[in-house]
């Protein structure tokens, strides 16, 4: 795979090939660095570029004198035989002829030690039409049999057999890598969906601070570096701060291209990376990718605090381990998902059992485990019929309602099988969520009622809040790099914070599946709950009927003894009167008065019983709905109450005003007449002055006028009213006036009465499916409003 030289004239190195040594410090950002064509190698080895056709030397690293005994100038244009000898040149030709070497370097042979120079391991690969030979010191005094490492790797791989979770698996991998390499710190570093990384496993020298659990900004491993790790299995950097050796010449004289060093073990490290390591005090690093389905899933990152040497065998063993880790990662993930799924299933089961026992939605949020344990989140909420049940960290009720309104507009909820909406950046989509990032950056929502009545939601806070960030400038002092503060990767932290602001950890597929299963559970619960409510309603209706029957029987049977009492009182009265008439009694009239009171009380009790009887009848009787002209009904009511007689009989300016013709409505005319006559009777009774001014009218549902104090349930309904200018009712008593036998005034004030009128009005209005309410002010007057929805809407006819 060849990589053409970057010839973008806007770059600091202009049209020519790049060299870290010459241009590295001119870079502004990591993402623009040509890491594949650094033009330089690490100083601990040497590199030769050979023409494939004749194996003549095209380019050589500037340090060949040290490692190979001759200056580059002496080597350029010479056949490779001059360096490796005839037998080894044959070996190279055999390898080139036999193997595809463009996907990674292969060990070719070891050059024995020569005068003053160490033995060198030689690796070969091809890149962009050239052969690349890399020479590195073996790092050992004696030759070590390959099978020692084979045994080591075999044992390590054997121990990776039964992963139970990704973390446990990665922990095992870091331990094996550290056992093989003997490095100070070995970490498994996992990339999240937003590319930021987390140390999920670590094996280290005891004296070092743990980095386990730290999160790193995405910029710490820049995009070009991540791309390279998709193509190589190991990246050694034995002396991070070591010098760099340029290729001579920098460009291939045949093609004019820079050498693509992707597969070079000696590839010179980016200035940024070496400074990054230096800032952390790291002297050497070894990095291996963990791949999953062709994507870079994570890294095995090894740090050493002194410069070291990575022998070829050690690297080969690590390569093998990282390949094994990549292969086994999936089964570890599956094991982990299975465990998560099992945990969710367990919570699910417990929720099912408890909710079946309690039959209430509260079962899902009020106890442990709750909805929140079912799915890993910061808070969870359940919405059903205008009510929220919440657990954990959730927005307040008004905010929840706004979110719900927004959610119901989501097209995702139209799906019949998977009505799920997920996001890990809610505030970016939903204006109602702006400001809620700390609670609701992530949202997983599902509906169980499409009529805007049922929602199940889980919230996640923004990641910024949930994790521990490595290199947070607030936590640690910044360490200036060799180039000053300019290039230190920690400068990227601020940018990074911006990139994760308002973002939560993403939702996984198994979490979505779990939400959908819980949705079914909640659906079942809601149905059970509705059945229970229906049962309760039936019970309530039954006991209401029984109460009515009781009131009827009780008042009926109470009348008989009452009649007896009145009779005896009457007889007492008659005989007392007779005695007085005969003037032979010693009665001074006081006894007579008492008997009179007794008689009056029995009659009062009689009228109370009559009201009770009537009230119970109002509850029991069948209503007959028909299109009724309210004008006729009101006229009847006025006639019944004798209102006109009262008015015309007084020499005042009393009036009953009907400002406009009443409509025709669907109702029981007899009962509505009773409503009006009761209200009229009250209006006539509770006068302030000698004259009464009464207004009977209505507010049409479609009129834009004020609907004073109208309850929400009356929306879309006509409102009828009877208004007087009487004594008024104190706001404190608005509720009480509707209570049976509740009187606001003395027994004989305002013409007396038993206090059943408004109670009966309320009952009659309720029987019509309507509401009744009061608007009143003491000394100003009272308006009683009521609605008569009764029959289905649309039944209303305009008066002819």
């Amino acid at each position: 795979m060849s990589q053409p030289a970057l010839v973008n004239p806007t770059l600091p190195w202009g049209a020519g090939p790049y060299s870290i040594k010459r241009h590295g410090t001119t870079l502004a950002t990591c993402d623009s660095e040509p890491v594949q064509t650094p033009g330089c190698i690490q100083a601990h080895g040497a590199l030769l570029v050979l023409r494939l056709a004749d194996l003549h030397i095209l380019q050589a690293s500037e340090n060949t004198l040290l490692h190979l005994g001759e200056d580059p100038t002496a080597l350029l244009g010479q056949p490779v035989v001059r360096v490796v000898g005839a037998a080894r040149e044959v070996r190279l030709r055999e390898m080139l002829a036999r193997d595809a070497l463009d996907r990674g370097a292969a060990y070719a042979f070891t050059l024995p030690p020569r005068a003053g120079r160490a033995a060198l391991d030689v690796c070969l690969h091809t890149s962009g039409g050239v052969a690349v030979l890399e020479f590195e010191g073996t790092g050992r005094a004696e030759y070590r049999a390959d099978d020692d490492f084979f045994m080591l790797v075999k044992a390590a791989v054997g121990r990776l057999q039964a992963p139970v979770s990704v973390r446990a698996f990665c922990q095992q991998v870091t331990q094996e890598v550290r056992a093989i390499t003997g490095l100070d710190r070995v970490m498994a570093y996992r990339f999240h969906a937003d590319h930021h990384g987390e140390v999920i496993a670590e094996s280290k020298r005891d004296t070092l601070d743990p980095w386990l659990g730290l999160h790193y900004p995405a910029a710490d491993i820049p995009q070009p570096a991540r791309e390279i790790f998709k193509r190589i299995w190991i990246r050694p950097l034995p002396d991070a701060a070591g010098p760099l050796m340029e290729l001579v010449p920098l460009a291939n004289p045949d093609s004019g291209l820079a050498l693509d060093m992707t597969h070079c073990a000696l590839r010179g490290a980016s200035v940024m990376y070496s400074e990054y390591l230096a800032n952390m005090g790291v002297a050497a690093s070894l990095t291996m990718p963990i791949m999953r389905d062709g994507e870079l899933w994570g890294l095995i990152a090894c740090h050493h605090y002194t410069t070291t040497h990575f022998a070829y065998e050690v690297r080969a063993a690590c390569e093998l381990l990282s390949q094994m880790a990549s292969l086994k990662l999936k089964s570890a993930e599956q094991a982990e998902q299975l465990a998560y799924r099992l945990k969710m299933e367990d919570v699910h089961q417990q929720l099912v059992v408890r909710s079946a026992r309690e039959g209430d939605l509260l079962a899902l949020t009020a106890y442990e485990p709750s909805l929140l344990d079912a799915i890993d989140a910061g808070g969870a909420g359940l919405y059903h019929l205008n009510r929220w049940w919440c657990v954990g960290n959730v927005p307040d009720l008004a905010q929840l309602d706004q979110l719900a309104a927004w959610l119901y507009e989501r097209p995702e909820f139209q799906s019949a099988t998977r009505p799920v909406f997920i996001t890990d950046a809610l505030a970016g989509m939903c204006p109602a969520a702006v400001g809620l990032e700390d609670v609701a950056s992530g949202l997983l929502a599902t509906v169980f009622s499409r009529q805007r009545r049922g929602l199940l939601v889980w919230f996640r806070p923004q990641t910024m809040r949930t994790v521990k960030w490595a290199g947070n400038p607030d936590d640690k002092p910044r360490v200036p790099g060799p180039q000053g503060m300019r290039l230190t990767p920690r400068l990227s932290f601020e940018t990074f914070i911006e990139s994760v602001r308002g973002r939560s950890l993403p939702w996984s597929d198994i979490e979505v599946d779990a939400a959908l299963r819980l949705r079914l559970l909640v659906l079942e619960l809601v149905i059970t709950r509705n059945e229970r409510l229906a049962d309760l309603n039936a019970d309530l209706t039954r006991s209401n009927e029984e109460l009515d029957a009781f009131a009827y029987v009780a008042s009926h049977d109470l009348k008989e003894p009452l009649r007896g009492i009145h009779r005896y009182a009457h007889q007492l009265f008659e005989s007392a009167q007779a005695r007085i008439d005969e003037q032979k009694g010693d009665d001074d009239g006081e006894g007579l008065q008492r008997v009179e009171s007794l008689m009056r009380l029995t009659l009062r009790m009689d009228s109370l019983l009559d009201s009770l009887l009537h009230f119970s009848r109002v509850g029991r009787m069948e209503l007959e709905f028909e299109a009724t002209d309210l004008n006729a009904v009101v006229a009847d009511a006025i006639e019944m109450t004798g209102a006109l007689r009262t008015i015309s009989g007084s020499d005042s300016d009393s009036s009953i005003d009907i400002p406009r013709a009443m409509p025709v409505v669907q109702c029981d005319s007899v009962r509505v007449c009773e409503i009006y006559s009761n209200l009229l009777a009250n209006a006539l009774k509770y006068k302030r002055q000698a004259e009464a001014h009464i207004e009977i009218g209505y507010i049409r549902a479609d009129e834009a006028t004020e609907r004073p104090n109208a309850p929400a349930a009356s929306a879309g309904q006509d409102i009828f009213y009877v208004r007087d200018q009487g004594i008024g009712i104190d706001r404190r008593h608005y509720e009480q006036v509707f209570r049976l036998f509740k009187r606001m005034h003395g027994r004989d004030e305002y013409g007396g009465g038993v206090g059943a009128g408004l109670t009966i009005v309320q009952k009659l209005v309720q029987r019509h499916g309507g509401r009744v309410w009061i608007d009143s002010a003491l000394g100003v007057g009272t308006t009683v409003y009521f609605t008569l929805p009764g029959a289905p809407s649309g039944a209303r006819v305009e008066p002819g």
Binding site: H556, R563, G564, H566, R567, H570, L603, M605, L613
Partner: protein
Amino acid sequence: MRLQNIMVVEDSDEDFDTVCDAARRGGILHPIVRARSGAECLRLLRGSAGNHDALTLLVLLDLNTPGDDGRDVLREVRSDDALGTVPVVVLSASANARDVQFCYANGANAYHVKPVDHGLHLKVLQDIFAYWLSSAVLPA
């Protein structure tokens, strides 16, 4: 010749006394026979059937009597050919529309509510006697 009797089906002593009081005040000479229950009423009516002198001229029926209540008595009387024509005047504590409807549908000749007010009660009873014993012509 003995006068035919008036049968009062009434379990309340006070209400029965009031009936007697009203009869006395109205100068009614017909003997008043009391039945305390619906069953007793039917037994007395059937026992005197065929005995002209013991025949009942008028039944004042309280609707809420123990055991078989006034409704049962009304149905029985109207379904018995031997008793079928005797006028039955119902007296009840309430003016329940269902009761009123039932009684007329089952052959009651009149329906009256017993007022709690003793004076009114006496007047209702005196009106009944005046109407049925003076104005109306009854089957012989």
